[in-house]
Symmetry: C2
């Protein structure tokens, strides 16, 4: 039951090995953090020798950085697809946001370990992969910001809306709700979680119905 892979397939022998290393690294680092995870552990979990890790990646940090880039790439693609699909169907901005929330939840359900690891590293400072992290973060958040901005232009969202901040808040809402869901109420269904967040987004919280 590999629930935390984050890389696509590959055909050559080498690609398969890298894939195994990604899978091993992502779960271990999510649980223990980067520094507490040893290269020996990663190798052992992946079922390869330690030397193989260094044959495939220049260093422990590089392995981690590539993992990061790949994972966020998947998320960004998924968000963008959700947004574009809704736009093509002539949906309102709120529907696009809702659709992106779902895409976010699907991603987190599929790659919980990656999500953990990402959250744990995102706001750290003075780390080797700081710049990588900034870049990939901006890619992902930009998708949300884009949808918000278009909503404002089309008059569907208030023009007083603070785009960057609201984007961050929305991402945070989904992220934390989903991580809590996974950690503390894993038995609940994605639809269940999605509808609760959807309600919150659409301001249907206050006032009895």
């Amino acid at each position: 039951m590999e629930s935390s892979t984050v890389t696509g397939g590959g055909s050559s022998r080498r690609a398969a090995t890298r894939q195994k290393l990604y899978e091993a690294a992502v779960t271990l680092i999510a649980e223990q953090g980067f520094s507490a995870t040893t290269v020996d552990e990663i190798a052992e979990r992946a079922g390869v020798a330690k030397g193989t890790v260094y044959y495939n990646f220049a260093s422990k940090s590089v392995l981690f950085e590539e993992l990061l880039r790949h994972g966020v790439g998947l998320l960004t693609a998924s968000l963008r697809e959700a947004a574009e699909k809704t736009a093509k169907d002539g949906g309102r901005t709120v529907d696009a946001l809702d659709s992106m929330i779902r895409a976010g939840l699907v991603f987190i359900e599929r790659y919980p370990a990656f999500t953990q690891l990402y959250v744990a590293e995102l706001w750290r400072t003075n780390r080797a992969w700081q710049s990588t992290l900034m870049v990939v973060r901006q890619e992902a958040v930009a998708v949300v910001e884009g949808v918000l901005r278009e909503g404002v232009e089309r008059g569907e969202l208030s023009d007083e809306l603070d785009v960057p901040l609201t984007a961050a808040a929305l991402v945070g809402m989904v992220l934390v709700a989903a991580l809590d869901w996974q950690s503390f109420q894993p038995e609940r269904s994605l639809d269940d979680v999605h509808s609760a967040l959807s309600r919150l987004l659409q301001g249907r919280v206050s006032g009895r119905r």
Copy 2:
């Protein structure tokens, strides 16, 4: 410019030393993570000898655990105070939530390093201080859940509202928005950020004004 202390005052000599150690540890661990931070570093930053660390704390982990407990204690107290004050003034549930959002922002502005560190550790599994973390998390979230539950009882919030999930989502909204504020737009004022989040909470996002 100590922006990240998280402990209250103390009177004895020993308490002062512990305070210095907390301050040093919180910033270092926030930046580098627990494992990457060495006891020598903490001692040096605090301006004490390494032996002093072990005179005051049984181990590196214990130092960290006490730091965690203390920090979340401050947050919980602050949230509770905000909620109770609003309740006493006869405010609506939304006002109490709004007041708690502000309290959260104030806390994060004052103790950014602690917040970083907390977020980075919260969803980790299999760590020594796992249980400590669960307990303090529950204390803090419970305050938000309490306010939500009372709002539902009083009919001010929809009775279809998913209390635990919404609480997590709200916490996440504030947390991520605030960390982004601190990391990427530190020049903005707290009021500014607060009003943006306030608008989001009250569902005044969609629809032109």
